[in-house]
């Protein structure tokens, strides 16, 4: 069953230099309980698509349904059903971990008692129990990321959107995070929609990949099927496959153009 379906989803930004079509028309379907890898080079429209699907940005064209709610007609329904963990996370460095977790519960309209209990549960689940009274600025990169994800899971969303969840993490923290994502799907049936620049991550984690370039979907399928179709063989690396699809590699986050 489809938990996300979009048709011609588009966003054009008006800028001083004329309109910029960040997303030209995305058609995709995500099945319930699936881990979907959303790949594409820098500027392909990944984050813009994610921000539209989480109601942060109003589409300028097309339509989408997320967890049974129309994106434009019922954004409040979408918000109750989805969790979003942005690349930048979103915690105040001065605020203690417990306070962030409890406030988040209250923002999802839990009572004070429910929010306190949910915070303890999440801390237990994500290995944050010993850190509850620390300010978020004192957490390590991996701990910070787990807190960001805990905040996104506060209301037990049906769909969790993760925007480059492992960027900047050390290898051990990345492996932990992969386990966490798999556990979410296996234990709670959560659908996970994640963008990443790391092809090994997409290969290891995602059931299915959607590759976007220039604001449209240019390929989709399981990692194996994509390798076979675009990379020439099942033994092709995802890197080779990706290059064959987009004509260039997925630039790492924050990479600056090289000046000649």
């Amino acid at each position: 069953m489809a938990i996300i379906s979009t048709a011609g989803l588009a966003r054009t930004f008006r800028t001083g230099n004329g309109p910029v079509e960040a997303v030209r028309g995305i058609d995709l379907t995500v099945r319930e309980g699936e881990i979907l890898g959303f790949l594409g080079p820098n500027g392909a429209g990944k984050t813009t698509t994610l921000r539209m699907l989480t109601t942060l940005l109003r589409p300028t064209g097309g339509a989408a349904t997320v967890a049974g709610h129309d994106l434009v007609g019922d954004p409040a329904g979408v918000r109750r059903a989805v969790g979003y963990v942005a690349q930048s996370g979103g915690v105040d460095p001065q605020v203690p971990v417990r306070e962030e977790l409890v406030t988040q519960g209250r923002l999802y309209r839990l009572t004070r008692d429910q929010a306190v209990r949910r915070a303890a549960e999440l801390a237990e689940d994500l290995g944050l129990t010993g850190l509850l009274d620390r300010r978020t600025s004192t957490l390590s990169g991996g701990q910070r990321r787990r807190l960001d994800i805990a905040l996104g899971l506060t209301h037990r969303p049906k769909v969790l959107f993760l925007d480059e969840p492992t960027t900047g993490l050390d290898p051990a923290s990345r492996a932990d995070l992969w386990d966490l994502v798999r556990r979410l799907r296996d234990e709670h049936g959560t659908t996970v929609f994640l963008t990443t620049h790391y092809l090994d991550e997409a290969d290891a984690l995602a059931d299915r990949l959607v590759v976007v370039d220039g604001g449209v979907v240019v390929a989709e399928g399981t990692p194996g099927a994509l390798k076979l179709r675009h990379g020439g063989s099942i033994d092709a690396t995802l890197q080779e496959t990706f290059l064959a699809i987009t004509g260039r590699g997925p630039a790492p986050a924050g990479s600056a153009p090289v000046s000649v």
Binding site: A76, V82, G90, V95, R109
Partner: protein, 249 residues
């Protein structure tokens, strides 16, 4: 729900203020220095008003405090936008309006508390004014703070870096402060300056507050001051609401 959410957002930012109590006192430094080192210069001068020079100076200093305190409120939201805090809250079902009102009410509360401290210091320096006048003054401070903080957040939602925001706000606030006669009554100056200053809304507020501080409540200045303060608040909250409901979406 709006009330629940506003209280929640207010609580979050009130705790933020309590964590930085020193900054609240630091915010009082500028008006306090004016009170200490500028106030005594005025005591013997003919300022043309009724009452003492303190009854003319203190209302101006209170509005100056609100002006600067509230106009720069938007700084915090630029920082929070860059940390991803604003978007994290906007994907929850929380009322969009509450995200504005909770913040604005925190700023208003802080500025009223600072105003009380400033008035206490002024009483020590020699201010004598009727209690109802002083209370009416706090109401004007609150309305001005509410208005400017709303506008400041609305503007800050559309700006990326604090570097763009600071100079722009300063460029707007400095001339408004000078032209509204917060430091000295505009009636002392040449006619053209007096006329020009009527184009600045704060002029009406300070005139009304000075009336209130000498116990003259049923005056034209009081009426205009109250109308301008309420009108400004209505416009500012409307603008803020539109930006917060739409922002990004």
């Amino acid at each position: 729900m709006l009330l629940h959410d506003t209280a929640l957002v207010f609580g979050r930012y009130a705790r933020q203020t309590l964590r930085s109590r020193f900054a609240v006192l630091l915010g009082l430094l500028m008006p306090l220095l004016h009170l200490l080192f500028f106030g005594p210069l005025l005591t013997g001068l003919p300022l043309g008003g009724r009452g003492s020079s303190w009854q003319i100076l203190v209302p101006g200093l209170l509005l100056q405090l609100a002006l600067f305190g509230a106009a720069f409120a938007g700084f915090m939201i630029i920082v929070e936008k860059n940390l991803g805090i604003v978007e994290r809250m906007r994907v929850t079902p929380v009322s969009r309006l509450a995200l504005l009102l909770g913040r604005v009410l925190r700023d208003t509360a802080v500025l009223v508390v600072q105003s009380v401290l400033l008035v206490v210091a002024a009483l020590v320096m020699g201010l004598r004014a009727p209690i109802w006048g002083i209370l009416a003054g706090f109401a004007f401070v609150a309305l001005l703070a509410l208005s400017l903080a709303s506008l400041s957040y609305a503007a800050a939602m559309r700006v990326r870096t604090p570097q763009e925001f600071g100079p722009a706000v300063n460029a707007l606030i400095m001339p408004s402060m000078l032209l509204s006669g917060l430091m000295l009554p505009m009636s002392l100056g040449p006619r053209w300056l007096d006329v020009l200053s009527h184009a600045v809304p704060f002029r009406y507020l300070v005139d009304a507050m000075r009336d209130a501080y000498v116990g003259a409540y049923a005056t034209g200045s009081m009426l205009y001051g109250a109308l301008v303060a309420l009108g400004l608040a209505a416009v500012a909250v409307t603008v803020g609401t539109r930006v917060f409901v739409r922002a990004g979406a």
